[in-house]
Amino acid sequence: MLAKLDDVTKLYGKNDGLRDCTLAFPKGEVVGVLGLNGSGKSTMLKLLAGLLFPTAGRVTVFGGAPRANRARIGYLGENDALYTWMKPADAERFMSGLYDDFDAVRYRELLDVLAVPRRKTKAMSKGERGRMRLAMALARDVKLYLLDEPLAGIDLLSREKILTSLVREWHTDEAILLSTHEVAEAESLFDRVLLLREGRVALDASAEALRSEGKSVVAAFREVLS
């Protein structure tokens, strides 16, 4: 098991971020973490990344605390937090200097595949920056990728490029947790679907099982969350 949440609750003051959540994430799955705004998607990914600590319960990644294993987790946050002066070459220096598992050749390939221009991020569009951040995340050789809204605010063609890259780069000994609002576009990618509602898991099902019931992920999303 790559990661586990054992009865995890995360509160922000009196508000629920996540409530009584018990989940396990084995390797070999692309998990769609879906839900409306404020449903707890980002909170779950941040807990797994070690950016947040649970109020109650236990988060385990690679058998230990997330922060202790942070070097083995590929996390792409929801915030576009790149330094404005960074060019793709600077990002390569940054990543290869800090992460032993960063593959510079793979990174450059991804930059080409994702059509990322070689200029400063402040001169890039939101889509270009998003693609560059994804290239930085995917160029690491880790077993657990936590991708928080990599498609948010990105144009259709860029979204297609990102999804194509995710399919291309994924290996069966890895797990990807992908949170997105672009359910229809990403659903073909998912092996498993987690639907969150107000911090609780409303549905945890295999995408294949949904399809065998004649349901699309979008239909399940509407049924459970509406």
Binding site: Y12, G13, K46, A49, G50, L51, L52, F53, R70, A71, I73, Y75, G77, N79, D80, A81, L82, Y83, W85, D90, R93, F94, G97, L98, Y99, D100
Partner: protein, 259 residues
């Protein structure tokens, strides 16, 4: 080591404009000092020394702003990227600190160089030992006594405040620290003052009186009060220790902080 060097490079890329502007400002101060004209040598020295102290104070302020820009990083989320990187909080803090210290060292050595130039412009020719004391020992003594702990304090303050960003209550630790620090410093300073000169002091500028008396204008200057400057060691070591303790706490908070 590679990770530390990468963070140092990152710090350079983040802050080189600040560093370059500060060091470049030495040219401005040199120009300003050159513009000072007064018929009386003592008055001229006084104005120039005042300008130099102002330059030192302004430089210290700029350095504090440079090292304390963590809050803008938390707002933009870059702190989040850095928190997830493998190096520990201590390494991040050390890299940030070292860059600021390097800029500070160059700047204050420059200030020391300008002091030497001021003294030289009066016709007084200092020997090599006295120049080294003026350009190296004095700036580093002042750095150790004031700026090194001040930079540590600023870094600790901003990390402490940023640690509470997520709950929106960063102003509470900020206020507590800003209000509490003078009391702690007062108590600590009293203690350092109390133990000063327990160890042998450092004697500086012992030859200055003789040098002044060898100049053509010696008759105009009353050198009876010019004696060697004896600097106590204890305050320097005490403040350096305080700086290290603050950096360790800052690193520990970085370790613990939530994104």
């Amino acid at each position: 080591m590679r990770k530390f060097m990468t963070l140092l490079w990152l710090e350079y890329r983040r802050s080189w404009v600040w560093g370059a502007a500060l060091i470049g400002s030495l040219a401005f101060w040199a120009w300003g000092l050159n513009q000072v004209s007064a018929s009386d040598i003592g008055e001229q020295l006084g104005i120039r020394a005042g300008l130099l102290f102002f330059a030192a104070g302004l430089g210290a302020l700029v350095l504090c702003f440079m090292i304390g820009r963590i809050r803008s990083e938390t707002r933009q989320g870059q702190y989040q990227i850095l928190l997830l990187t493998p190096p520990t909080g201590y390494v991040h803090v050390a890299a940030r600190y070292l860059f600021a210290f390097a800029v500070a060292a160059v700047y204050f050595m420059g200030i020391g160089g300008l002091a030497w130039w001021i003294v030289g412009s009066t016709g007084l020719v200092l020997n090599a030992g006295t120049v080294a004391q003026l350009v190296l020992v004095c700036p580093f003594y002042l750095l150790g006594l004031v700026l090194i702990p001040l930079l540590s304090w600023t870094l600790l303050l901003m990390i402490f405040v940023s640690a509470y960003r997520i709950s929106g209550s960063g102003w509470i630790p900020g206020t507590v620290m800003v209000l509490g620090s003078p009391f702690v410093l007062n108590w600590y300073g009293d203690w350092l003052f109390h133990i000063s000169y327990t160890l042998p002091g450092w004697r500086l500028f012992e030859t200055v009186r003789a040098l002044v008396e060898s100049t053509p204008w010696a008759a105009e200057i009353d050198t009876s009060g010019v004696t060697a400057l004896v600097l106590p060691q204890e305050p320097l070591w005490g403040m350096l220790l305080l700086a290290v303790v603050m950096l360790v706490i800052a690193g520990r908070i970085w370790q613990e902080v939530e994104g």
